[in-house]
C-alpha cells in the first residue's frame, strides 16, 4: 500500500513539475493547491487515521514533498528555461518567490486534507466538503493567479458529462458504443433548433436543455432498438454506423423541399407539375441545419441577478456546468445502485443468465442507451449555448473515441475513474499539449533553428515538430498500452477487473457463443 502511495505521489510530483516548467508564474501555486490536496488524500488512503495529528503528519509530508518539486521546477523554469526561450531571466528571487509560494500552498493543502482525514466517522463528509470548496473556489483562485485555466476546465467538465453518460452504456451495461458523439450532436442541434434564429424559435435555455436531453434519450432508444439482438463487436459497428450517419445528416439538411408523393405522381402523369402538393420549403428550399457553417448564434441562458451569460465571462458557465456534472454524478450513482443498475451489470456479465433470471433484456438495454444519451444531451445543450454556435465537424468519430478513451483510461464502470480519465485526457489535450507546442516552438526558434544549416532539415523542424498534431497518436497509444498493461483502467471497478483479467475469459466467451 505504501509503495502504491509512493508511486502515485511520484506521478503527482511529475505532473506538478511539468506544469510549472510549461506554464511558469503562479501556476505552481495553483497546481500545488490542487495536487497537494490530492497527495494528502493519497497519503492517508486506506490507512486508519486515529487522530487529526497523524493525518496532518502524513498529509503535510506528502504536500511538502510535492512542494519541493514545485520549488525545484520553478527555479529551473525561471533560471534556465525562461531565458532559453528568449525572455529575460526572472532571477533567483522571483523563481524562489513563485516556487516558495507553491511549496507553502502545497504543504498547506496536504496539511488540511490530512487533518480532515483524522476526523473519524466524519472523514468522508469532510473530504467531500473540502473537494467542494476546491471546486467552487477554483475559478477565483485561477483569476487571482492569472493562470487562465477556467475555460479549459469548462471543456473538461463538458467531456466529463459525456464520459459519465458513455460509462453507463459501456461500463455498466457492457454495450460498446462507438457512435456516442451522435447523441452529443443531437443534444446540441436540438438546442440549436429551439433557441436560435435558424427556424425562428428562441426558447429559453432552461427549458431547452431538458428538451435536448429528452430528445437525445429518445434518439438513444430509436438507435438502440435495432441493435438489441447484436453481439458485442457487431453492436460496436452498428453504433459506429449511426455515429457516422448523424453528422452527415446534420451536414446535409440544408435544402429541404418535400412534396406529397401521390399528388406528385399524378401531377407528373398529367404533365402539370404545379399540381403537386408542396409540404415543406415551397418558396425556397428550407435550410434546417446550416450545413457546414452550422447554426449561429444560439441563445444563451439568463438568470435573474446575473443577466445573460456572456461568452468572455467564464464564472457563470463554470458554475452551471459544475452543477450539471455534480447533479449527474449523484443521479448516476443512484441509478447504478438501483434495481436497473444491477440489471445492467447482470446483462453485462451474462445476458442469457440475466434473461433467465427474469430481467427484461430489451427494456434494460434500451434504458441504458437512453440514460447514457440523456447526459450527452445535457452536454450538447450546454455546449451549444456556451460556444453559441455548432458545426457538424465537431461531432465526428474522433469525439466518440476520445470519450471512450477517457472511460477506458479511468476505469470502466467506475465514476471516480471516469472523471479522472476525463481530466487527464482533456487537460493533456487542451492545456498541456498546446502549451508544450508553444514552449517547444520558442525553444526551436531561438536555440535550434539558427544553428541548422540544411534547409530541408530546417523546414522539417519548423513544420513537423508539433505536439498538437500528435494528439491522435497519443490517444491511440493510450488505448493500445492500456489494453495491454492495465485493461481495467487506472481506478478499476472490482467486478470489471476480474472480468478483464480472467485467464479463462476466452473459454467463457466460447461457451457463450456456442
Amino acid at each position: 500500500m505504501t509503495q502504491q502511495a509512493m508511486k502515485s505521489g511520484n506521478i503527482l510530483a511529475a505532473i506538478a513539475a511539468l506544469t510549472v516548467l510549461l506554464f511558469g508564474g503562479w501556476s505552481g501555486a495553483v497546481i500545488g493547491w490542487l495536487l497537494g490536496a490530492a497527495a494528502g488524500l493519497m497519503a492517508c488512503q486506506g490507512k486508519k487515521i486515529p487522530s487529526p495529528k497523524t493525518g496532518i503528519r502524513l498529509g503535510s509530508n506528502a504536500g511538502l514533498a510535492l512542494g519541493i518539486w514545485i520549488l525545484i521546477a520553478s527555479l529551473i523554469q525561471g533560471l534556465v528555461l525562461f531565458p532559453a526561450t528568449g525572455q529575460s531571466s526572472l532571477g533567483v528571487i522571483q523563481g524562489l518567490l513563485f516556487g516558495g509560494v507553491g511549496l507553502v500552498v502545497a504543504t498547506f493543502a496536504g496539511w488540511l486534507m490530512g487533518a480532515l482525514q483524522g476526523l473519524g466517522s466524519k472523514r468522508q463528509q469532510a473530504t467531500r466538503a473540502f473537494l467542494a470548496v476546491i471546486l467552487i473556489t477554483f475559478p477565483l483562485i485561477d483569476q487571482i493567479a492569472r493562470t487562465n485555466w477556467t475555460a479549459t476546465v469548462i471543456q473538461i467538465l463538458i467531456f466529463a458529462l459525456l464520459a459519465l453518460g458513455l460509462n453507463i452504456v459501456v461500463g455498466y451495461a457492457g454495450l460498446l458504443d462507438l457512435g456516442y458523439a451522435a447523441f452529443f450532436a443531437i443534444g446540441a442541434y436540438t438546442t440549436g433548433f429551439l433557441s436560435s434564429p435558424q427556424i425562428n424559435l428562441e426558447w429559453n435555455f432552461w427549458l431547452v436543455i431538458w428538451i435536448a436531453a429528452a430528445v437525445a434519450a429518445l434518439a438513444g432508444v430509436i438507435l438502440g432498438a435495432p441493435t438489441l439482438r447484436l453481439r458485442g463487436d457487431y453492436l460496436a459497428i452498428v453504433t459506429l454506423g449511426f455515429g457516422e450517419i448523424v453528422p452527415v445528416v446534420f451536414r446535409n439538411l440544408t435544402q429541404i423541399q418535400i412534396y406529397e408523393p401521390i399528388s406528385r405522381i399524378f401531377a407528373s402523369l398529367l404533365g402539370r407539375p404545379e399540381l403537386a402538393i408542396c409540404l415543406v420549403g415551397c418558396d425556397r428550399p428550407f435550410n434546417l441545419t446550416g450545413g457546414e457553417a452550422g447554426i449561429n448564434p444560439i441563445g444563451r441562458p439568463t438568470l435573474p441577478l446575473i443577466g445573460t451569460f456572456q461568452s468572455g465571462q467564464y464564472l457563470p458557465w463554470y458554475y452551471l456546468i459544475l452543477l450539471l456534472v455534480v447533479f449527474s454524478v449523484l443521479m448516476i450513482g443512484r441509478l447504478r445502485d438501483s434495481r436497473l443498475g444491477r440489471a445492467w451489470s447482470a446483462i453485462r456479465e451474462d445476458e442469457l443468465a440475466a434473461s433467465a433470471m427474469g430481467i427484461n433484456l430489451v427494456q434494460t438495454k434500451l434504458l441504458a442507451f437512453a440514460m447514457g444519451a440523456t447526459f450527452s444531451g445535457f452536454a450538447g445543450a450546454f455546449y451549444g449555448a456556451y460556444i453559441s454556435a455548432i458545426f457538424p465537424s465537431v461531432f465526428d468519430f474522433s469525439v466518440s473515441v476520445i470519450v471512450l478513451c477517457m472511460v477506458i483510461l479511468g476505469g470502466l464502470g467506475n465514476m471516480t475513474g471516469v472523471l479522472l480519465g476525463c481530466t487527464i485526457i482533456m487537460a493533456a489535450d487542451r492545456l498541456y499539449l498546446p502549451q508544450l507546442a508553444q514552449v517547444l516552438k520558442s525553444i526551436l526558434n531561438t536555440l535550434v533553428l539558427p544553428n541548422v544549416a540544411n534547409p530541408a532539415l530546417r523546414d522539417f523542424l519548423a513544420t513537423s515538430i508539433d505536439p498538437i498534431q500528435m494528439r491522435l497518436f497519443l490517444f491511440g497509444l493510450t488505448l493500445v498500452v492500456m489494453m495491454i498493461v492495465r485493461p481495467e483502467g487506472l481506478v478499476p471497478n472490482a467486478e470489471r477487473q476480474a472480468e478483464l483479467r480472467s485467464p479463462d475469459e476466452e473459454s467463457l466467451a466460447e461457451v457463450r457463443s456456442q
Partner: protein
C-alpha cells in the same frame, strides 16, 4: 388479418420513402427520368463502380481474413491501406515520374511502389499483430477491438505526419492535411474504341489495368487459401484454433501469416487507389476502410468470396449513389446499408446466420 397488417405496413414504409427520400437524394421519379434519358451513363457508373468495387474488395479481404481467423474487427486495416498509398506516392515521387512520363519509367516506378508499399503494410500489420493484438488473445473480446481502434488512430497520425514531410518528399505538397495529387501513370487508351465499339462510355486501359490487377490478386488469394498447405492451415486455424494446434499447426505463425497477406493486399490497394483516383489524403483510410468493412459484412464476414462480391456491390452502389442520389449522401447510404445488414442478416449474403446458443 396478419397479411393485411403487413401490406399496410409495407405501404406506409414505401410512402415514407417516397415522402422523405428526396431529402437524402432518393428521389425515385427524378432518378428514373435520368436513367431513361441516358442509359449510357448508367452503364458508365456501373463500370466505375465495378472498378472501384474491385479495389474495395481487396481491402475487404484484409478485414475478412483477420476476422475469419481471430474474430477481430481489425479497425486499423483501412488506415494501413492509407499508409500504403502514402508509401506508393513517396516512391513514385522519388522516381520523379509525373503525368505523362514514358511507359518504361512509369512501369518501373509502379512496380517498385507496389513492392515497397505491400512490404511496408505487410510488415506493419505483422508488427501490430505481434505487439498490440497477440498479448490480448486471451482477453475479453472488446479488448483487442479497442486496441485496434488505438492502432488505427496511431496510423492516421502517422499518415498526417508523413504528409507533412514536404522537406524530404516534395510530392507531398505544402500542407500536411490537404489531399495530395497522385501522378496519372496509367495509359488512357479507350478500350471500347480500340475494339471498334461505338458507345458514349469511357472505359480506358487505366480501368482495365486496375481491374485486372485486382482480379489477379483476388484469384491468387483464393487459390492460395484453397489449394496450398499454408492455406489449409489457415482454414484449419480459423475453424478451431485448439484443434489446429493439436494437429501440429503453429497457430501463431499462421495468424502472423494472415496479417502478412492482409497487409500486403492493403498495400497493393493503396497503390491502386492512388493510381485510379489520382488523389490520396490521410483521412481516406477511415472512409474507404469503413466502406470495405461494410463490403466484408455484406458478403458475410470471414468469407473470402463474400468479401469480393460485397466489395463490387458496395462499389457499384456508391457509384450509383454518387450519380443519382447525391455524393454528399453516399456515406450515409453506405452506413445505412451496413446497419440494415447487421440488423437483419448479420451473416451477410454468403455467410450463415449463427444463432447464439447456451
Amino acid at each position: 388479418m396478419k397479411r393485411w397488417q403487413n401490406a399496410i405496413l409495407y405501404l406506409v414504409v414505401i410512402y415514407l420513402i417516397l415522402l422523405l427520400g428526396p431529402v437524402a437524394g432518393l428521389d425515385l421519379p427524378r432518378i428514373f427520368g435520368e436513367i431513361a434519358r441516358s442509359p449510357a451513363s448508367l452503364v458508365q457508373q456501373l463500370l466505375v463502380g465495378i472498378v472501384n468495387g474491385a479495389i474495395i474488395a481487396i481491402i475487404a479481404l484484409g478485414y475478412t481474413l483477420v476476422y475469419g481467423i481471430i474474430e477481430l474487427i481489425n479497425f486499423a486495416h483501412g488506415d494501413l491501406f492509407m499508409l500504403g498509398s502514402f508509401m506508393s506516392l513517396t516512391v513514385v515521387g522519388a522516381f520523379g515520374v509525373g503525368d505523362g512520363a514514358s511507359p518504361a519509367a512509369s512501369l518501373l516506378a509502379v512496380l517498385s511502389a507496389l513492392l515497397l508499399s505491400a512490404s511496408l503494410c505487410a510488415g506493419l500489420n505483422v508488427l501490430t499483430e505481434r505487439y498490440a493484438y497477440r498479448p490480448l488473445r486471451n482477453a475479453s473480446r472488446l479488448a483487442p477491438l479497442i486496441s485496434a481502434i488505438g492502432v488505427s488512430f496511431i496510423f492516421i497520425n502517422l499518415g498526417l505526419f508523413w504528409g507533412g514531410l514536404r522537406s524530404f518528399f516534395p510530392i507531398m505538397g505544402a500542407n500536411a492535411a490537404s489531399p495530395k495529387s497522385f501522378p496519372d501513370l496509367l495509359p488512357r487508351v479507350d478500350v471500347l474504341q480500340a475494339l471498334g465499339i461505338e458507345a458514349n462510355i469511357a472505359f480506358t486501359t487505366k480501368d482495365l489495368i486496375v481491374l485486372v490487377v485486382a482480379v489477379v490478386l483476388m484469384v491468387g488469394l483464393h487459390l492460395f487459401v484453397q489449394y496450398t498447405r499454408l492455406g489449409k492451415a489457415m482454414r484449419a486455424t480459423a475453424q478451431n484454433r485448439e484443434a489446429a494446434k493439436i494437429m501440429g499447426i503453429n497457430v501463431n505463425q499462421i495468424i502472423a501469416l494472415t496479417f502478412l497477406i492482409g497487409g500486403a493486399l492493403a498495400g497493393a490497394a493503396g497503390l491502386l487507389v492512388g493510381l485510379y483516383n489520382n488523389t490520396v489524403v490521410f483521412t481516406m483510410g477511415f472512409t474507404v476502410g469503413l466502406r470495405a468493412f461494410t463490403a466484408a459484412v455484406l458478403g458475410g464476414i470471414g468469407n473470402i468470396i463474400g468479401a469480393m462480391l460485397g466489395g463490387v456491390l458496395i462499389g457499384v452502389l456508391s457509384a450509383l449513389s454518387d450519380q443519382y442520389l447525391s455524393s454528399r449522401w453516399t456515406n450515409a447510404w453506405v452506413f445505412a446499408i451496413l446497419v440494415v445488414i447487421l440488423v437483419f442478416r448479420p451473416g451477410g449474403l454468403l455467410g450463415e446466420n449463427v444463432q447464439e446458443k447456451v
